[in-house]
């Protein structure tokens, strides 16, 4: 049995999406900038896709710019916008300690280029403190960037409240909504968002395609210069099959799937906590991404759990330092006040709309066995 429970990393492309993409490889392959019929038919597909995305987040179609993915979108938001803001004398950004590396490392780059960055703390469940946000704002602040749903522990921030603060202070508000898109309702107007980063492959679309919502009249410096595609914000011939697939994935996403994932996730959390002693859930019980469960399992190391489950055909991920290239434990768990050893023993399970109860049961059964085996080997574990 092969059970994929790492949908936070990437997802299976829905066969319906694949079908929608097919004609755009060898039949409708025109360049959307061309004036002839080949170009016009792909241009039509491109604009339809733009409308689908816009509608999903309550934006206007021309506020959607297609990119190569969430990372590029975050880079455009942080670097593209802020390099313009610098000219206006603003050089301060407020973000959080639990951002995706695409935002964090863009911020590091900005710091090397004369910007000041405030990294907001989070509480034990991963929520930012709105008072700290308010206090961090100064006349030099150009932008606030807060991840909507955290990619590791699934904490969903209150974008509406954060947006309200930004609006009152006339700040540009960006959010990386890659994990929450189609799982949590997003309304760019209600949330007062100026910029939002989206990705295709986290929602059963293809890899290599994403988008950024850029509010009308907001001036962003492009860093892909070329033929003026995408309102001049992102030059390069559009990836039409990818864009069509992305839009199809958005179109077929449903509230029903979200509810199903939520039920399965709650079942999984309850089982793991009750069947495996000395296990804790990381992140909140409520305001949590519908497909995310994240645990610290005491006295065992996450990478060892990952590979032992892998032997059984089960795919999960871990925040353990031993699994990362840097040998550093998860910055998200540390920001939440977890000790390093709690981070080493962490595993993340992320479901999809294709996940079944049978798969969850198979996972739980094997996790119990794997943890028991590893604890038997561990000099730290003392039976209660």
């Amino acid at each position: 049995m092969r059970v994929y429970l790492d949908n936070g990393a990437t997802t299976k492309v829905d066969p319906v999406v694949v079908e929608a993409m097919k004609p755009y490889f060898s039949e409708k392959y025109g360049n959307a900038s061309s004036l002839h019929v080949f170009g016009r038919e792909t241009k039509e597909a491109l604009e339809n896709a733009r409308s689908v995305l816009a509608k999903k987040i309550n934006a206007e179609p021309d506020e959607i710019v297609f990119t190569s993915g969430g990372t590029e979108s975050d880079n455009i938001a942080l670097k593209g916008l802020l390099l313009c803001e610098k000219c206006r004398g603003k050089n301060h950004v407020i973000t959080t300690k639990i951002e995706h590396p695409a935002v964090l490392n863009s911020c590091k780059f900005l710091e090397q280029n004369g910007f000041k960055v405030t990294y907001l703390d989070v509480d034990k469940d991963g929520f930012i403190n709105l008072e700290q946000l308010k206090k961090s704002i100064s006349s030099k602040t150009a932008m606030v960037s807060v991840i909507h749903a955290n990619n590791e522990v699934g904490t969903i921030q209150d974008l509406e409240k954060i947006g309200g603060i930004c609006k009152g202070r006339n700040l540009i508000f960006h959010s990386d909504v890659v994990q929450s898109f189609t799982k949590v309702p997003i309304d760019v107007n209600k949330y007062n968002l100026d910029l939002a980063s989206l990705s295709g492959h986290k929602i059963h679309g293809p890899k290599g395609v994403g988008a950024i919502y850029v509010k009308k009249r907001l001036f962003v410096c492009p860093f892909m210069h070329g033929g003026g595609h995408e309102r001049g914000l992102r030059a390069g011939t559009e990836n039409i099959p990818g864009i069509v697939g992305f839009a199809k994935a958005v179109e077929i996403s449903s509230e029903k799937d979200v509810e199903r994932m939520k039920e399965l996730r709650d079942y999984l959390i309850e089982k793991v906590l009750s069947k495996i002693p000395k296990t804790t859930l990381n992140g909140p019980r409520n305001n949590r991404l519908c497909n995310n469960a994240h645990f610290t399992i005491d006295n065992v190391e996450g990478e060892a759990i990952l590979f032992a489950l892998d032997e059984k055909g089960i795919a999960v991920s871990t925040g353990s330092a031993c699994s990362s290239k840097s040998l550093k434990p998860s910055h998200v768990l540390l920001a939440m006040g977890r000790k390093k050893e709690e981070s080493h023993g962490s595993i993340r399970i992320t479901l999809s709309k294709f996940t079944t109860k049978k798969e969850i049961d198979y996972f739980i059964e094997n996790l119990i066995e794997v943890v028991a085996n590893l604890r038997k080997m561990s000099p730290l574990y003392k039976k209660i």
Partner: protein, 124 residues
């Protein structure tokens, strides 16, 4: 990422557990770093008659603990002390470079266990 031999030792570890009649015990690492390794040896007439280990750590930490014990069981203390981290890694068909520290840990835990045995011997 890991060789077949690493995975074999991870899945079917050798000499795992506590050693009741151990006359030398060595422990290295700490939970904050993500590795704790404990080696138990039973030495008789200068020879490692029996050895076992307990490890909290990643796949590499577990595999290096297991393979080291197979290398030194039945050897004299002097022979055992000559084993280097590279010997351990080599026996596993190689380790990812960032995991090399795990093999140092195994070697260090063994050294400590032997030191422990020697210090006990000296007091008798």
């Amino acid at each position: 990422m890991y060789t077949e031999r690493v995975m074999k030792h991870f899945k079917h570890p050798k000499n795992q557990g506590k050693l009741k009649n151990a006359n030398g015990i060595g422990e290295v690492g700490n939970p904050t770093c993500g590795d704790v390794m404990k080696m138990y040896v039973y030495v008789e007439n200068g020879m490692i008659k029996d050895i076992s280990w307990e490890t909290y750590g990643c796949v590499a930490a577990i595999a290096t603990s297991s393979v080291l014990t197979t290398l030194v069981k039945g050897k004299t203390i002097e022979e055992a002390l000559k084993i280097t981290k590279d010997d351990v890694a080599k026996e596993l068909g190689g380790l990812p470079s960032m995991k090399m520290h795990c093999s140092i840990l195994a070697v260090d835990a063994l050294k400590k266990a032997i030191e422990d045995y020697r210090s006990k011997e000296a007091t008798i």
